[in-house]
Symmetry: C2
Subunit: 399 residues, 2 copies
């Protein structure tokens, strides 16, 4: 049977990540991985979630509601808590099965095959799979330590590029850790209104800030202006609570959330009622969340510091990295211009994993700037393990 | 802003159900609804799920795994339990966020805009939203008390129709309650191999059988034959455990499950780890499940009997319905040929809801056979309420 002929063009264009597949092959018990993007397991609030279940069961119909069908837009308890956190009306909130689903539903609601989407270069390719699956063409615009280069975006818009959607990770972006500057945020909204495109503000890492001041969100900046109709904000419980619950949320204008909810009906009817009620209980417990986030931030700050210091102490100037103000990633650089992709397989043999910078370049003519970069996630290794990981890595750097 | 111009053609073609919207408007506290499709709330195993959480926490890394990212194809614990229930190798199983997602991922993996899908007439329109969202054209083939009329399908195939996919609810179909006969199952597989289309076997209600013998599943009939490459089976925890967990599964050949998993990665990364581990614990507890399903079947059998008897006792021959062998629905008929749609709004005023038969007809030339039908769900009303509901309905039947 020719099964290839039965697959849709969508299925043919959907590829798995090469890096992810390679990493899966390596299953050494002593592997020290800086390649992941998982939250620290010791900060997953197992006991607090169990307490939430006891509390949900304790309410009159809570146990039954947690196991019964629910509304497609999400359960009112969680939507209320999320609206409170985002300081917006509850009717602007749709609960999704992870923010990945939010991205996918927005993509499918807006994009026809051939439509143009602007993303930052470099970008986490996982997030681009949704745009590709919707049939979109991707156009990459450069980014630097202040995030997406919005002036460069303005230039290509002026020269005729007409994206339907521009997607940015605003805070501690994956992989660079960069945060979009306030000036660029304002300019991006002006461009959105001027050229009539939707801005997706993806912000899973914003609450993991341990230094510096947060910039106002695009959603907050747009509120009450013509841009409000063109900004959709995605949030996630994955980095602040638990990724296993698959809970995200989307805040947007009614014309878009209406379309998203209709499409979600055919995609999975609704998100787990149980997980929503558990998350509402925990996220709504502001005293717990403040303490919980305080612990995570302090711990991640320590680990990031250990990693950056070890790179500096052991690296002999051959590798450098700046200490981030938050997030989960260090975007290190090989100073002699050698290629992190060349290093990758040797590193796996030595028992240390990272993601080579080239993995975040789109399939477009690249100027090769990424090949000297390494994305290092510092959240899952303990400080002593981080030092061993760096010493293993340094041992194979070219001299 | 012209937001319509920003929406995709997919979003424009995705409509909400008129009936669902109408029913939402009616929020009378004394409404007796036969319109739903929800399992009986008293059979939702709240205590057993809480016990499962305690057990998951009790294992060495269970609590952490329940809250951490997991594999896209599903957690091995649940895949093992499902493979055991379906008597197939574990690598044929993909866990989905409800069987609705299974349907959606299969549709998107197989269908390009304009591709043809054959469905039964009547069909539950909710299940067709996924095909429409993937851009498919729908072609309806008649069905009767033995399910989809497979000979009629053969005729249209011979005359040149080339569907990429044929979708059937094999057991106690929604809305008719019909079960596909053994002969038609075998013939359907022959046609699939002969004409090269995929058969989706959707079976959420099969385990709710309280009388008669189950037919062998299409997946079981196809095993070891050329048809095995063309059959995908969808299952669900919604009717046997709890819909709020949003857990379904898909069993299919590798060429299709590979594509489904790649697409699921961009759709929601994976299904809730917590819900999967809880369901694995409960579904894997065969002693509990046997007792639990025994209770549900006995109770639904009683309720179905009360409903059918009440229609016969109070209806004075103006409405008739056969007692089903399982499932959740009675497919009643107005014997004087009057229209159930005409009855619908009057019924809501009287405090009783059902779904008019016309709601299950596709937007194709219809011969009007459905307009005398009513779909009645007997699972959520108590026996005394079922009698009141029928008496309210009968009070407005034309004399």
């Amino acid at each position: 049977m020719d099964s290839d002929a039965l697959l849709s063009s969508r299925a043919h264009s959907t590829v798995s990540s090469v890096i992810r597949d390679l990493l899966r092959l390596v299953d050494r018990p002593d592997m020290l991985s800086l390649a992941g993007g998982l939250p620290a397991p010791e900060h997953l609030p197992v006991a607090r979630i169990a307490e939430a279940l006891a509390r949900v069961r304790g309410t009159r119909v809570g146990g039954t509601r947690a196991l019964q069908y629910g509304p497609t837009e999400g359960m009112v308890e969680l939507r209320e808590v999320v609206a409170g956190r985002l300081r917006c009306p509850i009717n602007e909130i749709v609960i999704c099965t992870g923010s990945q689903q939010g991205l996918d539903l927005v993509a499918r609601s807006l994009l026809d095959p051939g439509d143009l989407v602007v993303v930052a270069d470099p970008s986490y390719l996982g997030s681009l799979q949704s745009f590709r699956a919707a049939g979109a063409e991707l156009h990459a615009v450069a980014s630097d330590e202040d995030g997406l280069d919005v002036e460069a975006l303005g230039v290509v818009l002026e020269s005729g590029l007409r994206p339907k959607l521009v997607s940015v990770v605003t805070d501690f972006a994956n992989p660079t850790g960069a945060t979009l500057s306030a000036a660029r945020r304002r300019r991006l909204l002006e461009l959105a209104v001027g050229f009539g495109f939707v801005v997706v503000e993806d912000n899973p890492y914003g609450e993991l800030r341990w230094a510096g001041e947060a910039e106002p969100s695009l959603g907050a900046l747009a509120a009450g202006t013509p841009a409000a109709d063109l900004v959709v904000t995605l949030g996630s419980a994955s980095k602040v609570l638990a990724p296993g619950l698959r809970l995200g949320w989307l805040r947007g204008p009614a014309w878009l959330t209406d379309a998203v909810v209709r499409l979600k009906q055919s995609s999975d009817l609704h998100t787990s009622s149980l997980d929503q009620l558990l998350a509402a209980d925990v996220l709504g417990d502001t005293a717990f969340m403040e303490a919980h986030l305080g612990l995570i931030r302090a711990d991640y700050c320590t680990r990031a510091g250990v990693l950056v210091d070890a790179l500096s102490d052991f690296g002999g100037g051959r590798i450098e990295a700046a200490l981030p103000d938050g997030g989960m990633f260090v975007w290190a650089r090989l100073t002699d211009g050698s290629s992190s992709s060349d290093l990758f397989e040797r590193a796996l043999e030595e028992g240390v994993a990272f993601v080579p910078g080239a993995a975040f370049s789109l399939d477009i003519p690249s100027d090769g700037r990424r090949s000297d970069r390494l994305r290092m996630c510092f959240t899952t290794l303990r400080p002593d393990e981080l030092k061993v990981a760096v010493s293993r890595l340094v041992s194979i750097l070219p001299r």
